[in-house]
Amino acid sequence: MTRSRTTAAALILAVAAAVFIAVRFGSVALSTGDVLDALKGRGDPVKRDIVVGLRLPRALLGVLVGGGLAMAGATFQALLRNPLAEPYILGISGGAAAAAVTVLALGLVSAGSWVLPAAAFGGALLAILLVFRVASAADRSLDVRVLLLAGVVVGAFFSAMIALWFALSEASTVRNAVLWMMGSLAGADWRVVVTAAAYTLPAGIALIALARPLDLLAIGEDTATYLGANVEQVKRLAFGMASLITAAGVAMAGVIGFVGLIVPHAVRLVVGSGHRALLPLSFLAGSAFLVLADVVARLVIAPSEIPIGVVTAFAGVPLFLVLLRASLR
């Protein structure tokens, strides 16, 4: 437990540092003094706008989405008893992306900045409901093998739909859609941050409350039942909450890969598989990781940006391999 506490303290500092770096650095050069002035509501109004109106909400969206994805990934891995599981494995990203591409292809996004996230969120919910209905058809219990299979199949269906829209759309639309699908935090403003928080934080707290039953579930459903867990209820809640977090993340920031797969494994290497430590620490690690990835995405070819999903994979793979090797010593 002391190891978890030390890790938690280190990760909280890391998140704070990452948010500071994200606010301090960008295509417009600011000094630390500028940032502090802006946060106090003083100084140059343009710089204040950049700090409070753009960079801070963007960093906080990174905290919520990165943390949420990592936590959802850890939950799906336990629920499906599959180390390869990640937040998008059950077709959520497919549903969100198909809906997003549909509104892009139909030109509906001109109606307002809310259209794309709303459509993506709706598509994600549709995929979740579809997969849930298929997996719980027999005997009113949720069969995780069917859940996995249904998720993959539903995802494939939505992929085909996306491909169809691509074939029918102009090149610029396809480019926009692909960029959206690779993920970006560029859509952040305070309203988006509040919306993301309203989904992610309550669902995240619910998942942490389920931590001990998830420990049992990760061993096996029979074992969990014999140890006194209400397995069906735990599975439904875990699936529902993790899906909701993922759907909110995809809606606000597109499909950011890799965070939900790798961060839980990295955290497990340090503090083990107990979900009472794993879930909150995964949230913190995912937050810090995604906020820093976004800094890189903004700076590499500033003033343009590269998709954040590219950074998470480029930075995350070597990082994970190093951790993995260290754990094998």
Partner: protein, 258 residues
């Protein structure tokens, strides 16, 4: 804590005949009872029914004086510890963490471990002689050590009954004997133990009572000397046998003939 069934029938959907067919039996408290029978005779189905994990087609399974399906799951887990046939571990976990899972029925999802819980875990580790392994990763253990960890987890529940499904199936002689010896000791201390096994002779040596299942029916029930009859065993196992007394241990033994 006594267990029993009353005209219990369990029919799996799609199966030609019921897995258990009108079985009535009683498993007395404070005894080591062995459940025997050929493959597919209904042993594991009986175990699942006694634990309330499968729904009877007709009849009931009882724990204490109540229908087992009327028990709250956590209350049930405070009373009966289970060692199922097998478990696969997908994520890294230490021996201590795995055994501490046995405290879930007492702690529930939210309460933190207290001194009472740590004491129960330590005692379970010690009684299974795996205290030295507490910080080891479960995946690095040998088969015998892993079984002891799973039994220790059941003990950490501080149950009044233990139910084990072939706990020694893949173990070598020494590990098998030491686990059966532990079960015998705990029974003598007042635990009710139900043991599914294929080891007829070891069952005759360690068990107080036996239940012999055959095709979903009870072929024989009672003390080893009541169940170990040549004509019964030959009929159930469909193989010629001789029953005699082991000159060294004094218990009954079955010798398959060819």
């Amino acid at each position: 804590m006594k267990l029993g069934t009353d005209h219990l029938t369990i029919q799996y959907s799609g199966a030609a005949r019921p897995a258990l067919d009108g079985v009535t039996l009683s498993i007395p408290a404070g005894c080591l009872t062995a459940v025997l029978g050929p493959n597919g005779s209904g042993k594991s189905t009986l175990l699942r029914a006694l634990l309330g994990a499968s729904r009877p087609s007709t009849g009931t399974a009882t724990l204490g004086d109540r229908d087992v399906r009327a028990w709250d799951r956590r209350e049930l887990a405070q009373t009966v510890g289970v060692v199922s046939q097998s478990e696969t571990i997908a994520f890294p976990i230490t021996v201590r963490e795995m055994v501490a899972m046995g405290r879930f029925p007492h702690l529930g999802p939210l309460r933190a471990e207290g001194w009472r819980d740590r004491e129960a875990v330590d005692k379970a580790l010690e009684r299974c002689d795996i205290g030295d392994l507490r910080n080891r990763q479960v995946t690095t253990l040998s088969g015998g050590e892993f079984q002891r960890v799973r039994i220790a987890r059941a003990l950490a529940q501080e149950p009044r009954a233990l139910v084990l499904d072939e706990p020694t199936a893949s173990l070598d002689l020494r590990h098998e004997m030491s686990i059966l010896g532990l079960l015998r000791d705990w029974t003598d201390d007042g635990m009710t133990v139900l043991l599914i096994t294929h080891q007829l002779n070891l069952a005759a040596r360690f068990a107080d009572r036996m239940i012999l299942l055959d095709g979903g029916h009870v072929a024989a029930e009672g003390t080893p000397s009541e169940v170990f009859r040549r004509e019964i065993l030959e009929r159930v196992y469909d193989w010629p046998v001789r029953v005699d007394e082991d000159p060294v241990t004094g218990s009954l033994r079955v010798v398959p003939l060819s």
